[in-house]
């Protein structure tokens, strides 16, 4: 077992975990944050995307102990005071969600993209979410959603 200290969605945690535990399992099984999904378990699909110290990572490829000292945002951490994050709202309104499995990761990748580049081109949006596979939507409504989110974030 190892002890880790980290912040998840603004809340500090000190927990003891198995050395072999992946970060996705720490989040899902230890903290109960099941919004983070496991698709492939090998870094190819992006369903397990989280934001760690400002960067998106595949939480299936990070060991739990590597999260020691880090600041993590999962999909559960986007909502503020019962209000959806502009990216979440835009996804909903644009009809960018079908089965929903890719959506937590997709929304976090979109947020991370907009945090770094508040007015991306279409190509940059496509590139920004290209690590997240979606089998349902054909991605185009996600482009529309991202542009809506940009507008919402400007208005904030």
């Amino acid at each position: 077992m190892v002890n880790i200290n980290f912040t998840v969605n603004g809340k500090p945690y000190e927990i003891s975990i198995d050395e072999n535990m992946r970060l996705i399992d720490v989040l899902r099984d230890e903290l109960g944050l099941i919004g983070t999904k496991e698709g492939c378990g090998e870094g190819e699909c992006g369903a397990c995307t989280i934001i760690m110290d400002g960067e998106t990572v595949n939480s299936c490829l990070v060991m739990g102990f590597q999260a020691d000292g880090s600041n993590i945002v999962t999909i559960e951490g986007l909502e503020k005071d019962g209000q959806l994050h502009p990216v979440q709202r835009a996804y909903m309104e644009a009809g960018a969600v079908q089965c929903g499995f890719c959506i937590p990761g997709m929304v976090l990748s979109t947020k991370a993209l907009l945090d770094k580049n508040p007015s991306p081109s279409d190509e940059e949006i496509r590139e920004g979410i290209s690590g997240n596979l979606c089998r349902c939507t054909g991605y185009n409504k996600m482009l529309i959603a991202t542009k809506k989110a940009i507008e919402y974030m400007k208005g904030e």
Binding site: G95, V97, E127, C134, R135, T137, G138, K141, L143
Partner: protein, 330 residues
Amino acid sequence: MKKRGIGVGLSFYGTGYGNGFPDISRAIVRLLPGGRIGIYCGVTEVGQGAKTAMIQIGAETLGVTEKDIDLIHEDTSLMPDSGTAAATRQTYNTGNAIKVACQNMREKLFEKAKVELGLNSTAGLALEKGEVVLSFFPQKRISFKRLSEIYKDETIEAEGEFVAQTTTMDPDTGQGAPYWPYTFNACAVEVEVDMNTGIVNLLRAVFAQDAGRAVNPHLLEGQMDGGFAMALGYTLFEDLKLENGVIKNNRFSKYLIPTAMDMIDVENIIIEDPENTAPYGAKGIGEPVMIPIAPAILNAIYNAIGIRITELPVTPEKLMKAIREAEVNN
């Protein structure tokens, strides 16, 4: 060297189980406390938007808004079965069952209103924004909410069933009309073929889909985009390698599906030509949206380089081989 070409693909698709197979959907509609409407129906939501579309059909038939309806679904211990969310059948089949159930519910509500309003008959009654109203004397009206309070110890409910009409094909000749209704679509694409690498790039796409009537145009476009992307994958790179029933490339690193960078903007055109046996004219489009894409891409490749490809996926290796062979033969 890169060469460009344009191709068109057309398809028509029979929805439902077809071929005389029993294809039945059922629904129950119930007046809930507070005057809300409960639709109990085995319709399955897998992201295609069935839940939204079914609520819309119910709301339309009962003269209420989508927000006044609770859809209780996906649990056949609580509701009748409505068959599978497959065969592009939910909008048409289950939509019809919900429409019939809601129409029957109207009659139930009219009967209760007749009693409460002291009327001679149900003639001239209509549903309007959650109320039963006598159309030629609208002062005579009673809300669903009031009815739910008066009849709180009695369940006001109605059932609906829709059995699709299909006929069996002649087993000897394979002739007949196995499906009803059909849905139609057309897709045109422009591609660019790299003669040195065999890579096919999509430049433009226009996609027209007949939906009978678009219950929810927004969700319909989502289905069209999704079908296009899935078909793009299976035309250009998805290659399932089976060996003795075992999938050899069961990894996303070995079995590629389109990413956002492989997809292009598709100009979607929704064609509305209401089908008279369908709920408000609406037909399913779930599967057909995938069908015309591959032929359009293959025709565009032919138009660009004069080579007919007859096996999918058109991987760069396969296309390079075909290009080399064509060079040798010329």
